[in-house]
Protein backbone atom coordinates (compact mmCIF):
# COMPACT_ATOMS: atom_id res chain seq x y z
CA UNK A 1 0.00 0.00 0.00
CA UNK A 2 1.51 3.26 -1.10
CA UNK A 3 1.54 5.98 1.49
CA UNK A 4 1.46 9.71 1.02
CA UNK A 5 4.63 11.55 2.06
CA UNK A 6 2.64 13.21 4.84
CA UNK A 7 1.87 9.82 6.44
CA UNK A 8 5.49 8.74 6.19
CA UNK A 9 6.53 11.77 8.12
CA UNK A 10 3.90 11.07 10.78
CA UNK A 11 5.03 7.41 11.03
CA UNK A 12 8.65 8.46 11.42
CA UNK A 13 7.77 10.90 14.19
CA UNK A 14 5.65 8.32 16.02
CA UNK A 15 8.27 5.61 15.77
CA UNK A 16 11.14 7.82 16.88
CA UNK A 17 9.10 9.22 19.78
CA UNK A 18 8.18 5.75 21.02
CA UNK A 19 11.76 4.50 20.61
CA UNK A 20 13.25 7.44 22.44
CA UNK A 21 10.64 7.06 25.16
CA UNK A 22 11.44 3.36 25.58
CA UNK A 23 15.19 3.96 25.71
CA UNK A 24 14.68 6.80 28.17
CA UNK A 25 12.46 4.68 30.41
CA UNK A 26 14.99 1.83 30.38
CA UNK A 27 17.80 4.26 31.21
CA UNK A 28 15.72 5.61 34.06
CA UNK A 29 14.88 2.16 35.47
CA UNK A 30 18.45 0.81 35.30
CA UNK A 31 19.86 2.71 38.33
CA UNK A 32 16.94 1.47 40.43
CA UNK A 33 17.52 -2.16 39.47
CA UNK A 34 21.28 -1.81 39.89
CA UNK A 35 20.85 -0.30 43.35
CA UNK A 36 19.57 -3.70 44.50
CA UNK A 37 22.85 -5.45 43.64
CA UNK A 38 25.47 -5.81 46.40
CA UNK A 39 26.87 -2.42 47.37
CA UNK A 40 30.57 -1.49 47.15
CA UNK A 41 31.20 -2.02 50.85
CA UNK A 42 29.56 -5.43 50.64
CA UNK A 43 31.78 -6.39 47.71
CA UNK A 44 34.83 -5.15 49.60
CA UNK A 45 34.23 -7.60 52.46
CA UNK A 46 37.78 -8.79 52.85
CA UNK A 47 39.76 -11.79 53.82
CA UNK A 48 40.15 -13.65 57.09
CA UNK A 49 43.31 -15.09 58.60
CA UNK A 50 42.95 -18.23 60.68
CA UNK A 51 45.40 -19.84 63.10
CA UNK A 52 45.27 -23.58 62.46
CA UNK A 53 48.03 -24.69 64.82
CA UNK A 54 45.59 -25.78 67.52
CA UNK A 55 43.45 -28.02 65.30
CA UNK A 56 43.97 -31.69 66.13
CA UNK A 57 43.86 -34.45 63.54
CA UNK A 58 40.22 -35.36 62.83
CA UNK A 59 39.03 -32.06 64.26
CA UNK A 60 37.13 -29.44 62.31
CA UNK A 61 36.49 -25.77 63.10
CA UNK A 62 33.94 -23.27 61.77
CA UNK A 63 34.91 -19.68 61.08
CA UNK A 64 32.90 -16.84 59.57
CA UNK A 65 33.98 -15.46 56.22
CA UNK A 66 31.85 -12.91 54.32
CA UNK A 67 28.92 -13.81 56.54
CA UNK A 68 29.16 -17.48 55.64
CA UNK A 69 30.48 -20.39 57.67
CA UNK A 70 33.77 -21.89 56.45
CA UNK A 71 34.79 -25.37 57.61
CA UNK A 72 38.50 -26.05 58.17
CA UNK A 73 39.19 -29.72 58.81
CA UNK A 74 42.41 -31.56 59.53
CA UNK A 75 41.63 -34.93 58.00
CA UNK A 76 42.78 -38.27 59.34
CA UNK A 77 44.65 -40.78 57.21
CA UNK A 78 41.49 -42.91 56.81
CA UNK A 79 39.44 -39.93 55.70
CA UNK A 80 42.01 -38.94 53.09
CA UNK A 81 42.15 -42.51 51.80
CA UNK A 82 38.35 -42.74 51.66
CA UNK A 83 38.22 -39.50 49.66
CA UNK A 84 40.95 -40.61 47.26
CA UNK A 85 39.51 -44.04 46.60
CA UNK A 86 36.40 -42.69 44.92
CA UNK A 87 36.28 -42.74 41.13
CA UNK A 88 35.48 -39.12 40.13
CA UNK A 89 33.42 -40.25 37.14
CA UNK A 90 30.96 -42.00 39.48
CA UNK A 91 30.03 -38.71 41.14
CA UNK A 92 27.20 -36.31 40.47
CA UNK A 93 29.64 -33.41 40.38
CA UNK A 94 32.84 -35.17 39.25
CA UNK A 95 35.95 -33.87 40.99
CA UNK A 96 39.07 -35.59 42.30
CA UNK A 97 40.01 -35.08 45.92
CA UNK A 98 43.36 -33.70 44.77
CA UNK A 99 41.57 -30.85 42.96
CA UNK A 100 39.79 -29.84 46.14
CA UNK A 101 42.74 -29.50 48.52
CA UNK A 102 46.12 -27.78 48.53
CA UNK A 103 47.60 -29.92 51.30
CA UNK A 104 46.11 -33.36 51.68
CA UNK A 105 45.32 -33.16 55.37
CA UNK A 106 43.70 -29.73 55.23
CA UNK A 107 40.19 -29.53 53.78
CA UNK A 108 38.70 -26.03 53.51
CA UNK A 109 35.04 -25.72 52.53
CA UNK A 110 32.27 -23.13 52.45
CA UNK A 111 29.82 -24.73 54.89
CA UNK A 112 26.72 -23.97 52.87
CA UNK A 113 24.69 -26.80 51.36
CA UNK A 114 24.47 -26.33 47.59
CA UNK A 115 20.82 -27.32 47.65
CA UNK A 116 19.05 -24.53 49.52
CA UNK A 117 21.76 -22.96 51.65
CA UNK A 118 21.53 -24.67 55.04
CA UNK A 119 24.64 -25.33 57.12
CA UNK A 120 25.39 -29.09 57.04
CA UNK A 121 26.02 -31.02 60.25
CA UNK A 122 29.29 -32.86 60.88
CA UNK A 123 31.49 -30.27 62.59
CA UNK A 124 30.94 -31.63 66.08
CA UNK A 125 31.83 -35.14 67.19
CA UNK A 126 28.22 -35.73 68.22
CA UNK A 127 26.78 -34.54 64.88
CA UNK A 128 25.28 -36.79 62.26
CA UNK A 129 27.86 -37.08 59.47
CA UNK A 130 25.76 -38.86 56.90
CA UNK A 131 26.34 -42.14 55.08
CA UNK A 132 29.74 -41.08 53.70
CA UNK A 133 31.13 -39.89 57.02
CA UNK A 134 31.57 -36.29 55.92
CA UNK A 135 28.67 -33.87 56.37
CA UNK A 136 24.93 -34.25 56.41
CA UNK A 137 22.43 -31.45 55.66
CA UNK A 138 19.46 -31.74 58.02
CA UNK A 139 17.16 -29.60 55.90
CA UNK A 140 16.59 -31.87 52.93
CA UNK A 141 18.93 -34.77 53.55
CA UNK A 142 22.04 -34.25 51.40
CA UNK A 143 25.07 -36.45 52.21
CA UNK A 144 28.63 -35.19 51.61
CA UNK A 145 31.80 -37.29 51.79
CA UNK A 146 35.16 -36.62 53.47
CA UNK A 147 36.10 -34.36 50.57
CA UNK A 148 32.85 -32.38 50.81
CA UNK A 149 31.51 -33.90 47.61
CA UNK A 150 27.81 -34.54 47.14
CA UNK A 151 27.07 -38.27 47.26
CA UNK A 152 23.36 -38.59 48.03
CA UNK A 153 20.34 -36.30 48.34
CA UNK A 154 18.95 -33.33 46.41
CA UNK A 155 22.02 -31.03 46.32
CA UNK A 156 23.39 -30.60 42.78
CA UNK A 157 27.01 -29.58 43.55
CA UNK A 158 29.91 -30.34 45.86
CA UNK A 159 30.51 -27.99 48.79
CA UNK A 160 32.40 -24.96 47.48
CA UNK A 161 36.09 -24.55 48.17
CA UNK A 162 36.79 -20.88 48.96
CA UNK A 163 39.95 -19.16 47.65
CA UNK A 164 42.66 -19.59 50.32
CA UNK A 165 46.43 -19.59 50.75
CA UNK A 166 48.77 -20.99 53.37
CA UNK A 167 50.68 -18.00 54.75
CA UNK A 168 52.83 -20.43 56.74
CA UNK A 169 52.39 -23.85 58.33
CA UNK A 170 50.14 -22.44 61.04
CA UNK A 171 48.09 -19.80 59.25
CA UNK A 172 45.53 -19.88 56.44
CA UNK A 173 44.29 -16.74 54.75
CA UNK A 174 40.77 -17.16 53.36
CA UNK A 175 39.60 -14.80 50.62
Amino acid sequence: MAKKPKNKRRDFLQLSTVTLGAVGTAAFIWPFLKSMSPAEDTLAAGSTEVDISTIEEGQSITIKWRGKPVFIKKRTKEEIDAAKMVQASDLRDPQDDADRVQKEEWLVLVGVCTHLGCVPLGQKVSDMKGEYDGWYCPCHGSHYDTSGRIRKGPAPKNLDVPPYTFLNDNTIKIG
Partner: protein, 430 residues
Protein backbone atom coordinates in the same frame (compact mmCIF):
# COMPACT_ATOMS: atom_id res chain seq x y z
CA UNK B 1 -18.66 17.71 29.42
CA UNK B 2 -22.11 16.23 29.04
CA UNK B 3 -24.61 18.87 30.19
CA UNK B 4 -27.43 16.35 29.93
CA UNK B 5 -25.92 13.98 32.46
CA UNK B 6 -28.66 12.69 34.70
CA UNK B 7 -27.75 13.47 38.28
CA UNK B 8 -29.16 11.20 40.95
CA UNK B 9 -31.42 13.11 43.36
CA UNK B 10 -31.34 12.43 47.09
CA UNK B 11 -33.35 13.98 49.92
CA UNK B 12 -30.20 15.15 51.66
CA UNK B 13 -28.86 18.37 50.04
CA UNK B 14 -25.29 17.65 51.14
CA UNK B 15 -25.39 14.32 49.33
CA UNK B 16 -26.79 16.09 46.27
CA UNK B 17 -23.95 18.62 46.40
CA UNK B 18 -21.35 15.83 46.45
CA UNK B 19 -23.18 13.67 43.91
CA UNK B 20 -23.28 16.53 41.38
CA UNK B 21 -19.48 16.89 41.58
CA UNK B 22 -18.47 13.28 42.13
CA UNK B 23 -21.14 10.58 41.60
CA UNK B 24 -19.71 8.43 44.34
CA UNK B 25 -22.92 8.09 46.31
CA UNK B 26 -24.90 6.59 43.45
CA UNK B 27 -21.90 4.34 42.79
CA UNK B 28 -21.99 2.94 46.32
CA UNK B 29 -25.77 2.67 46.18
CA UNK B 30 -25.49 0.66 42.98
CA UNK B 31 -22.57 -1.57 43.97
CA UNK B 32 -23.23 -2.10 47.66
CA UNK B 33 -26.90 -1.17 48.10
CA UNK B 34 -29.10 -2.38 45.29
CA UNK B 35 -26.48 -4.86 44.06
CA UNK B 36 -28.39 -8.12 43.49
CA UNK B 37 -27.05 -11.22 45.23
CA UNK B 38 -28.41 -14.67 44.36
CA UNK B 39 -30.74 -15.45 47.23
CA UNK B 40 -29.43 -19.00 47.61
CA UNK B 41 -25.90 -17.89 48.57
CA UNK B 42 -24.77 -19.67 51.74
CA UNK B 43 -22.14 -18.65 54.29
CA UNK B 44 -19.36 -19.69 51.93
CA UNK B 45 -20.13 -16.40 50.16
CA UNK B 46 -19.16 -14.39 53.25
CA UNK B 47 -15.48 -15.25 53.00
CA UNK B 48 -14.72 -12.58 50.41
CA UNK B 49 -15.96 -9.93 52.82
CA UNK B 50 -14.06 -11.59 55.69
CA UNK B 51 -10.87 -11.58 53.63
CA UNK B 52 -11.25 -7.85 52.90
CA UNK B 53 -11.77 -7.06 56.57
CA UNK B 54 -8.74 -9.17 57.50
CA UNK B 55 -6.62 -7.35 54.91
CA UNK B 56 -7.55 -4.00 56.43
CA UNK B 57 -6.82 -5.34 59.94
CA UNK B 58 -3.41 -6.56 58.77
CA UNK B 59 -2.57 -3.19 57.20
CA UNK B 60 -3.63 -1.25 60.31
CA UNK B 61 -1.83 -3.51 62.82
CA UNK B 62 1.20 -3.59 60.50
CA UNK B 63 1.47 0.20 60.35
CA UNK B 64 1.46 0.42 64.14
CA UNK B 65 4.05 -2.36 64.44
CA UNK B 66 6.27 -0.54 61.93
CA UNK B 67 6.27 2.49 64.23
CA UNK B 68 8.29 0.43 66.73
CA UNK B 69 10.22 -1.95 64.53
CA UNK B 70 13.87 -1.52 63.47
CA UNK B 71 14.90 -3.23 60.22
CA UNK B 72 18.53 -3.86 61.09
CA UNK B 73 20.16 -7.24 61.69
CA UNK B 74 21.60 -6.09 65.02
CA UNK B 75 18.36 -4.60 66.31
CA UNK B 76 15.42 -6.30 64.60
CA UNK B 77 15.06 -9.18 67.08
CA UNK B 78 15.38 -6.90 70.09
CA UNK B 79 12.94 -4.35 68.68
CA UNK B 80 10.34 -7.11 68.32
CA UNK B 81 10.99 -8.20 71.91
CA UNK B 82 10.59 -4.57 72.97
CA UNK B 83 7.25 -4.45 71.15
CA UNK B 84 6.23 -7.55 73.14
CA UNK B 85 7.42 -6.32 76.54
CA UNK B 86 7.57 -2.52 76.68
CA UNK B 87 5.39 -0.93 74.00
CA UNK B 88 1.85 -0.31 75.24
CA UNK B 89 -0.36 -3.03 73.80
CA UNK B 90 2.53 -3.96 71.53
CA UNK B 91 1.93 -7.63 72.34
CA UNK B 92 -1.65 -7.25 71.13
CA UNK B 93 -0.62 -5.59 67.86
CA UNK B 94 1.92 -8.31 67.18
CA UNK B 95 -0.39 -11.21 68.06
CA UNK B 96 -3.15 -9.68 65.92
CA UNK B 97 -0.70 -9.35 63.06
CA UNK B 98 0.94 -12.79 63.31
CA UNK B 99 -2.31 -14.70 63.90
CA UNK B 100 -4.15 -12.44 61.48
CA UNK B 101 -1.78 -13.64 58.75
CA UNK B 102 -2.64 -17.27 59.52
CA UNK B 103 -6.37 -16.52 59.60
CA UNK B 104 -6.06 -14.54 56.37
CA UNK B 105 -4.81 -17.72 54.72
CA UNK B 106 -7.52 -19.87 56.32
CA UNK B 107 -10.15 -17.49 54.96
CA UNK B 108 -8.61 -17.25 51.53
CA UNK B 109 -8.22 -21.04 51.30
CA UNK B 110 -11.92 -21.46 52.13
CA UNK B 111 -12.70 -18.72 49.57
CA UNK B 112 -10.70 -20.66 46.94
CA UNK B 113 -12.36 -23.97 47.90
CA UNK B 114 -15.72 -22.22 47.46
CA UNK B 115 -14.72 -20.93 44.03
CA UNK B 116 -13.48 -24.36 42.93
CA UNK B 117 -16.35 -26.47 44.27
CA UNK B 118 -19.11 -24.23 42.98
CA UNK B 119 -17.31 -23.44 39.72
CA UNK B 120 -17.05 -19.69 40.26
CA UNK B 121 -13.98 -19.64 38.00
CA UNK B 122 -15.96 -20.53 34.89
CA UNK B 123 -17.39 -18.30 32.19
CA UNK B 124 -17.91 -15.36 32.56
CA UNK B 125 -15.75 -15.01 35.70
CA UNK B 126 -12.37 -16.31 34.42
CA UNK B 127 -10.60 -12.96 34.75
CA UNK B 128 -11.96 -12.66 38.24
CA UNK B 129 -10.39 -16.02 39.09
CA UNK B 130 -7.07 -14.96 37.54
CA UNK B 131 -7.04 -11.80 39.65
CA UNK B 132 -7.78 -13.96 42.68
CA UNK B 133 -4.84 -16.30 42.01
CA UNK B 134 -2.71 -13.20 41.58
CA UNK B 135 -3.83 -11.94 45.00
CA UNK B 136 -2.99 -15.37 46.45
CA UNK B 137 0.54 -15.13 44.98
CA UNK B 138 1.01 -11.63 46.37
CA UNK B 139 -0.19 -12.85 49.77
CA UNK B 140 2.36 -15.65 49.80
CA UNK B 141 5.14 -13.25 48.85
CA UNK B 142 4.06 -10.76 51.50
CA UNK B 143 3.80 -13.35 54.26
CA UNK B 144 7.22 -14.75 53.38
CA UNK B 145 8.78 -11.26 53.50
CA UNK B 146 7.04 -10.49 56.78
CA UNK B 147 8.16 -13.75 58.36
CA UNK B 148 11.78 -12.66 57.83
CA UNK B 149 11.39 -9.44 59.81
CA UNK B 150 11.53 -10.74 63.44
CA UNK B 151 15.01 -12.06 62.56
CA UNK B 152 14.72 -15.28 64.52
CA UNK B 153 16.25 -18.57 63.45
CA UNK B 154 13.23 -19.58 61.34
CA UNK B 155 13.13 -16.10 59.79
CA UNK B 156 16.75 -16.30 58.75
CA UNK B 157 16.79 -19.87 57.51
CA UNK B 158 13.37 -19.63 55.89
CA UNK B 159 14.63 -16.63 53.93
CA UNK B 160 17.84 -18.48 53.06
CA UNK B 161 16.05 -21.58 51.77
CA UNK B 162 13.41 -19.70 49.79
CA UNK B 163 15.84 -17.25 48.13
CA UNK B 164 18.09 -20.19 47.27
CA UNK B 165 15.21 -21.59 45.21
CA UNK B 166 16.09 -18.96 42.61
CA UNK B 167 19.65 -20.26 42.37
CA UNK B 168 18.19 -23.42 40.78
CA UNK B 169 17.48 -21.46 37.57
CA UNK B 170 20.19 -22.37 35.04
CA UNK B 171 22.83 -19.73 34.15
CA UNK B 172 21.22 -16.65 35.73
CA UNK B 173 20.13 -18.26 39.03
CA UNK B 174 23.11 -17.34 41.22
CA UNK B 175 23.22 -13.78 39.89
CA UNK B 176 19.49 -13.37 40.36
CA UNK B 177 19.71 -14.63 43.93
CA UNK B 178 22.54 -12.21 44.73
CA UNK B 179 20.57 -9.36 43.20
CA UNK B 180 17.48 -10.24 45.23
CA UNK B 181 19.50 -10.46 48.46
CA UNK B 182 21.76 -7.47 47.80
CA UNK B 183 24.54 -9.62 49.26
CA UNK B 184 25.96 -13.11 48.87
CA UNK B 185 23.86 -14.36 51.74
CA UNK B 186 20.85 -13.17 53.70
CA UNK B 187 22.07 -10.06 55.52
CA UNK B 188 21.27 -6.51 56.43
CA UNK B 189 20.66 -5.44 52.84
CA UNK B 190 18.15 -8.27 52.56
CA UNK B 191 16.33 -7.39 55.78
CA UNK B 192 16.05 -3.74 54.74
CA UNK B 193 14.52 -4.43 51.36
CA UNK B 194 12.26 -7.16 52.71
CA UNK B 195 10.85 -4.64 55.18
CA UNK B 196 10.31 -2.03 52.44
CA UNK B 197 8.55 -4.58 50.22
CA UNK B 198 6.55 -6.09 53.07
CA UNK B 199 5.22 -2.60 53.80
CA UNK B 200 4.22 -1.78 50.23
CA UNK B 201 2.86 -5.10 48.92
CA UNK B 202 -0.33 -5.09 51.04
CA UNK B 203 -1.33 -1.86 49.33
CA UNK B 204 -0.76 -3.54 45.98
CA UNK B 205 -2.96 -6.41 47.22
CA UNK B 206 -5.58 -3.84 48.21
CA UNK B 207 -5.55 -2.44 44.67
CA UNK B 208 -5.91 -5.88 43.07
CA UNK B 209 -8.73 -6.69 45.52
CA UNK B 210 -10.46 -3.57 44.18
CA UNK B 211 -10.23 -4.98 40.65
CA UNK B 212 -11.29 -8.42 41.90
CA UNK B 213 -14.45 -6.97 43.47
CA UNK B 214 -15.16 -4.74 40.48
CA UNK B 215 -14.86 -7.76 38.18
CA UNK B 216 -17.27 -9.91 40.18
CA UNK B 217 -19.79 -7.08 40.25
CA UNK B 218 -19.96 -7.00 36.44
CA UNK B 219 -21.67 -10.38 36.12
CA UNK B 220 -22.71 -10.76 39.74
CA UNK B 221 -21.82 -13.43 42.27
CA UNK B 222 -22.01 -17.12 41.52
CA UNK B 223 -24.15 -19.26 43.84
CA UNK B 224 -24.33 -22.83 45.20
CA UNK B 225 -26.41 -24.00 42.24
CA UNK B 226 -24.16 -22.29 39.72
CA UNK B 227 -27.02 -20.88 37.63
CA UNK B 228 -27.54 -17.28 36.59
CA UNK B 229 -30.02 -14.81 38.04
CA UNK B 230 -32.95 -14.71 35.64
CA UNK B 231 -35.63 -12.64 37.38
CA UNK B 232 -35.90 -10.34 40.37
CA UNK B 233 -37.27 -13.28 42.29
CA UNK B 234 -33.88 -14.97 42.15
CA UNK B 235 -32.00 -12.28 44.05
CA UNK B 236 -31.98 -10.12 47.15
CA UNK B 237 -30.36 -6.73 47.49
CA UNK B 238 -26.92 -6.64 49.05
CA UNK B 239 -28.24 -4.12 51.56
CA UNK B 240 -29.47 -5.09 54.03
CA UNK B 241 -29.70 -8.85 53.45
CA UNK B 242 -26.13 -9.83 52.57
CA UNK B 243 -24.62 -7.12 54.72
CA UNK B 244 -26.38 -8.58 57.76
CA UNK B 245 -25.37 -12.10 56.76
CA UNK B 246 -21.74 -11.01 56.34
CA UNK B 247 -21.92 -9.26 59.72
CA UNK B 248 -23.02 -12.48 61.39
CA UNK B 249 -20.10 -14.29 59.72
CA UNK B 250 -17.76 -11.54 60.85
CA UNK B 251 -18.90 -11.90 64.47
CA UNK B 252 -18.24 -15.65 64.37
CA UNK B 253 -14.83 -14.99 62.83
CA UNK B 254 -14.09 -12.36 65.49
CA UNK B 255 -14.79 -14.91 68.23
CA UNK B 256 -12.53 -17.49 66.58
CA UNK B 257 -9.55 -15.19 66.01
CA UNK B 258 -9.91 -13.61 69.47
CA UNK B 259 -9.81 -17.05 71.07
CA UNK B 260 -6.48 -17.70 69.39
CA UNK B 261 -5.03 -14.20 69.96
CA UNK B 262 -5.83 -14.21 73.68
CA UNK B 263 -5.60 -17.89 74.65
CA UNK B 264 -3.15 -19.45 72.20
CA UNK B 265 -1.21 -16.69 70.47
CA UNK B 266 1.74 -18.96 69.69
CA UNK B 267 -0.22 -22.02 68.61
CA UNK B 268 0.74 -21.42 65.01
CA UNK B 269 4.22 -20.03 65.71
CA UNK B 270 7.52 -21.92 65.55
CA UNK B 271 9.45 -22.07 68.82
CA UNK B 272 12.78 -21.68 67.01
CA UNK B 273 11.83 -18.19 65.87
CA UNK B 274 12.27 -16.99 69.46
CA UNK B 275 16.00 -17.71 69.05
CA UNK B 276 17.91 -14.81 67.40
CA UNK B 277 19.13 -15.51 63.86
CA UNK B 278 22.49 -17.30 63.71
CA UNK B 279 24.08 -17.57 60.24
CA UNK B 280 26.39 -20.36 61.43
CA UNK B 281 23.80 -22.77 62.84
CA UNK B 282 20.88 -24.19 60.88
CA UNK B 283 17.95 -25.39 63.01
CA UNK B 284 17.67 -29.19 62.96
CA UNK B 285 14.32 -28.98 61.22
CA UNK B 286 13.29 -26.03 59.08
CA UNK B 287 9.53 -25.68 59.02
CA UNK B 288 7.61 -23.33 56.76
CA UNK B 289 4.48 -21.55 57.92
CA UNK B 290 1.70 -24.14 57.82
CA UNK B 291 -0.17 -22.19 55.15
CA UNK B 292 2.74 -22.58 52.73
CA UNK B 293 3.47 -26.19 53.76
CA UNK B 294 1.60 -27.94 50.88
CA UNK B 295 3.87 -26.22 48.37
CA UNK B 296 6.94 -26.94 50.49
CA UNK B 297 5.95 -30.63 50.51
CA UNK B 298 5.87 -30.58 46.69
CA UNK B 299 9.34 -28.97 46.62
CA UNK B 300 10.81 -31.67 48.84
CA UNK B 301 9.00 -34.57 47.15
CA UNK B 302 11.18 -34.14 44.05
CA UNK B 303 14.75 -35.49 44.32
CA UNK B 304 16.08 -32.84 41.93
CA UNK B 305 16.72 -29.19 42.79
CA UNK B 306 15.46 -27.51 39.62
CA UNK B 307 12.63 -30.04 39.20
CA UNK B 308 11.40 -29.43 42.73
CA UNK B 309 11.45 -25.67 42.29
CA UNK B 310 9.64 -25.85 38.94
CA UNK B 311 6.92 -28.14 40.27
CA UNK B 312 6.43 -26.00 43.36
CA UNK B 313 5.89 -22.84 41.32
CA UNK B 314 4.00 -24.88 38.74
CA UNK B 315 1.54 -25.96 41.44
CA UNK B 316 0.51 -22.32 41.78
CA UNK B 317 0.75 -21.31 38.13
CA UNK B 318 -1.50 -24.20 37.10
CA UNK B 319 -4.33 -22.48 38.98
CA UNK B 320 -4.30 -19.65 36.43
CA UNK B 321 -5.42 -21.97 33.61
CA UNK B 322 -8.01 -23.95 35.59
CA UNK B 323 -10.94 -22.23 33.77
CA UNK B 324 -9.66 -23.67 30.47
CA UNK B 325 -8.80 -27.13 31.78
CA UNK B 326 -12.35 -27.70 32.95
CA UNK B 327 -14.45 -28.79 29.95
CA UNK B 328 -17.78 -28.92 31.76
CA UNK B 329 -20.27 -26.09 31.36
CA UNK B 330 -21.95 -26.98 34.65
CA UNK B 331 -20.52 -24.78 37.38
CA UNK B 332 -21.59 -26.27 40.68
CA UNK B 333 -20.19 -29.65 41.80
CA UNK B 334 -23.59 -30.23 43.41
CA UNK B 335 -24.72 -31.18 39.91
CA UNK B 336 -21.58 -33.10 38.93
CA UNK B 337 -21.88 -36.58 40.46
CA UNK B 338 -18.37 -37.79 39.50
CA UNK B 339 -16.23 -34.66 39.57
CA UNK B 340 -17.61 -33.75 42.99
CA UNK B 341 -15.72 -36.64 44.62
CA UNK B 342 -12.48 -35.90 42.78
CA UNK B 343 -12.83 -32.30 43.91
CA UNK B 344 -13.26 -33.33 47.55
CA UNK B 345 -10.30 -35.66 47.08
CA UNK B 346 -8.30 -32.67 45.89
CA UNK B 347 -9.06 -30.75 49.08
CA UNK B 348 -8.16 -33.74 51.29
CA UNK B 349 -4.98 -34.26 49.26
CA UNK B 350 -3.99 -30.60 49.66
CA UNK B 351 -4.50 -30.92 53.40
CA UNK B 352 -2.38 -34.09 53.50
CA UNK B 353 0.39 -32.34 51.53
CA UNK B 354 0.35 -29.54 54.08
CA UNK B 355 0.60 -32.04 56.91
CA UNK B 356 3.64 -33.87 55.54
CA UNK B 357 5.16 -30.52 54.52
CA UNK B 358 5.59 -29.79 58.22
CA UNK B 359 7.29 -33.12 58.94
CA UNK B 360 10.76 -34.40 57.94
CA UNK B 361 10.94 -35.51 54.29
CA UNK B 362 11.72 -39.17 54.84
CA UNK B 363 10.15 -42.63 54.84
CA UNK B 364 6.36 -42.73 54.82
CA UNK B 365 6.02 -38.92 54.84
CA UNK B 366 8.04 -38.67 51.66
CA UNK B 367 5.92 -41.37 50.05
CA UNK B 368 2.71 -39.53 50.99
CA UNK B 369 4.16 -36.29 49.59
CA UNK B 370 4.96 -38.02 46.29
CA UNK B 371 1.53 -39.61 45.97
CA UNK B 372 -0.01 -36.24 46.89
CA UNK B 373 2.10 -34.53 44.24
CA UNK B 374 0.88 -36.97 41.59
CA UNK B 375 -2.76 -36.45 42.56
CA UNK B 376 -2.32 -32.66 42.66
CA UNK B 377 -1.12 -32.44 39.07
CA UNK B 378 -3.21 -35.41 37.92
CA UNK B 379 -6.30 -33.60 39.15
CA UNK B 380 -5.59 -30.61 36.92
CA UNK B 381 -4.14 -32.28 33.84
CA UNK B 382 -6.10 -35.55 33.66
CA UNK B 383 -9.13 -35.64 35.93
CA UNK B 384 -10.46 -32.13 35.33
CA UNK B 385 -10.39 -32.23 31.49
CA UNK B 386 -11.56 -35.84 31.14
CA UNK B 387 -14.32 -35.98 33.71
CA UNK B 388 -15.83 -33.02 31.85
CA UNK B 389 -16.10 -35.25 28.76
CA UNK B 390 -17.48 -38.43 30.26
CA UNK B 391 -19.65 -37.14 33.10
CA UNK B 392 -23.40 -36.75 32.75
CA UNK B 393 -24.41 -33.88 35.04
CA UNK B 394 -27.61 -33.95 37.08
CA UNK B 395 -30.53 -31.90 35.87
CA UNK B 396 -30.05 -28.24 36.72
CA UNK B 397 -32.95 -26.30 38.26
CA UNK B 398 -34.69 -23.90 35.87
CA UNK B 399 -34.01 -20.93 38.09
CA UNK B 400 -32.77 -20.07 41.57
CA UNK B 401 -36.37 -19.71 42.76
CA UNK B 402 -37.01 -23.16 41.38
CA UNK B 403 -34.47 -24.57 43.84
CA UNK B 404 -36.58 -23.31 46.69
CA UNK B 405 -39.80 -24.46 45.10
CA UNK B 406 -38.39 -27.99 45.08
CA UNK B 407 -36.25 -28.22 48.15
CA UNK B 408 -37.95 -26.05 50.73
CA UNK B 409 -41.60 -25.91 51.73
CA UNK B 410 -43.70 -25.00 48.70
CA UNK B 411 -45.44 -22.12 50.48
CA UNK B 412 -42.29 -19.94 50.50
CA UNK B 413 -41.17 -21.00 47.05
CA UNK B 414 -40.57 -18.48 44.33
CA UNK B 415 -39.83 -15.70 46.78
CA UNK B 416 -43.46 -14.61 46.86
CA UNK B 417 -43.80 -15.03 50.59
CA UNK B 418 -41.14 -15.17 53.25
CA UNK B 419 -38.46 -13.44 51.19
CA UNK B 420 -39.51 -10.02 49.94
CA UNK B 421 -38.86 -9.38 46.28
CA UNK B 422 -36.30 -6.70 45.40
CA UNK B 423 -39.10 -4.48 44.16
CA UNK B 424 -40.34 -4.19 47.73
CA UNK B 425 -36.92 -3.39 49.09
CA UNK B 426 -36.22 -0.30 47.05
CA UNK B 427 -35.79 3.06 48.76
CA UNK B 428 -35.45 1.58 52.19
CA UNK B 429 -32.42 3.72 52.91
CA UNK B 430 -30.87 7.09 52.10
Amino acid sequence: MDKNRKVHQFKNPVLNWIEFRLPIISYFKKEYGDYPMPKNCNYFWSFGALATITLVTMIVSGIFLAMNYTPHTDMAFDSVERIMRDVNYGWLMRYIHSNGAAFFFIIVYIHIVRAMYFGSYKYPRELNWILGVFIFLLMMATSFLGYTLPWGQMSYWGATVITNLFSAIPFIGEGLKTWLLGDYNVGNATLNRFFALHYVLPFVIFGVVGLHVAAVHVHGSNNPDGIDIKTNNDSVNFFPYMLIKDTVAMCAFGVAISAVIFFGPNLMAEVDNYIPADPLVTPAHIVPNWYLAPFYAILRAVPDKLGGVLLMFGAIVILFVLPWLDRSKVRSCNYRPIYKWFMMGFFVNFFALGYVGMLPAEGLYLLIARVGLLYYFGFFFIITPFVGWIEKPSKLPLSISDVYAKNIAPNIGGGEKGIPSPAMQKDTYL
